[in-house]
Symmetry: C2
Subunit: 222 residues, 2 copies
DNA sequence: TATCTCCTTAAGGAATACCGTAAGGTTTAT
DNA sequence: ATAAACCTTACGGTATTCCTTAAGGAGATA
């Protein structure tokens, strides 16, 4: 079982709840942190001792407040944590359901588990921990299914995503074409931009470009 | 101090956390519920005993799952609860930060406290309880300030929101007009719909309707 | 090389969205 | 009661988007 667990989560009620769930697994040394910077600091200082943290459970979004922070998101914390402690096991514990974002975390940081906040979260956290102890990954029910079809989504390349982002930012078709040309990106003519939008509409089954933006946001591409 | 408290909240981690916070106030009888229907049932059955619930702490949004529910939101639960137990004290405990929604709850149901989920939530829950015991209302830090200017902020009405939702669902302008006319909603001509979209664009500083949808989603109107 | 396919681009017409104007009706203020 | 302000609607011109067709170029294959 894990010996030293760090929880990074801004809601202290959730901190208490996760702590209580971990105690049910007989994990004794649990540390909580409501800020990413603070979490990293704790990771660092423990790293020099003979009992460093072996598991990080972190949320993705942290509400900004009056304290200015260097690391402002769970993703930034994960990156920094792996930088100083590459073997640290990581469970992401978040309400995030956009498969694009989740897939990004899995692909980029090789996180060990993703547990989506919801009714069964306590049960799933325990399952995640057991899986990791057996050198397996764990992705919440629902997420796993979505990941299988994620390839459909990932038929979109970086230019598709950029295009969606520019649409969401309020650029018109010809302005997007101009942007692509200025940045020397491929297929930057108005006609090509139109074709690309059309391709995305078919792919995402969107009737209008407004809906296309809504779907893009929902899937975490924007 | 309150004798019998019911917590309605779908995330069981938060249930555990809130329960632990309440125990710090020496509240002994705490019941939790992950579904609105279940919460109402518990309220009802206790009502006939000599120790009915005197405080309800409820979230606003509950994730739907395989179990079909009659009451699907905290707001519906509050309405039903006050219907059977008008003197029940109510604390809304939610991540909702849109002042329009919060003001609506206060105006319509006369809720006793609103605590926004965040870093200080445990502390604020305690403050809310103490205020209610002294026959005062309590609105979290931040919310109180917003409430003062709420009228300025609540410039969008229900039809604006519906319009944004229909846009995000992929309806064209004339289809939206048709929808408004069929539902007998005011200002359902194509011209009025266009004007309303234009008004929203100015209000939200959007260049295109695609951006308008993106902003609407960002602000939680969709 | 010849041919084919795929990608990019251009062009033109149809559909839709955008924007200003004005008429008619309702509410509000004096 | 009258005027003013506001809301709703219709209409028409312009701009943009949508959609089809087709030409040209790059790369693959035989």
């Amino acid at each position: 079982m894990f010996q030293n667990v760090l929880i990074a989560e801004d809601q202290n009620t959730i901190n208490k709840g996760v702590e209580s769930t971990l105690r049910e697994l007989d994990i004794v040394n649990i540390t909580t942190s409501q800020y990413c910077d603070d979490a990293l600091l704790k990771l660092k200082s423990k790293l020099k001792t003979d009992a460093p943290f072996d598991l990080l459970i972190t949320d993705l979004s942290f509400k900004p407040d009056h304290r200015t922070q260097h690391l402002s998101s769970g993703e930034a914390l994960i990156e920094a944590a792996l930088g100083i402690s590459p073997n640290l096991k990581i469970i992401v514990f978040s309400i995030e359901h956009r498969i694009g974002k989740i897939k990004h975390l899995i692909d980029t940081y090789d996180i060990n588990a993703y547990v989506e906040k919801g009714r069964e979260e306590g049960f799933e956290l325990k399952k995640a921990i057991h899986n990791i102890l057996n050198n397996k990954t764990y992705y919440s029910h629902g997420v796993e299914q979505l990941l299988r079809n994620a390839d459909d989504i990932c038929q979109t390349d970086q230019y598709d995503e950029l295009l969606l982002q520019l649409l969401a930012k309020g650029l018109k078709r010809d302005q997007i074409a101009k942007y692509f040309k200025e940045k020397q990106l491929p297929a930057g003519s108005l006609s090509s931009i139109e074709k690309r939008i059309n391709k995305l509409k078919v792919l995402f089954d969107a009737n209008t470009s407004e809906q296309l933006v809504a779907i893009g946001i929902d899937r975490g591409l924007i």
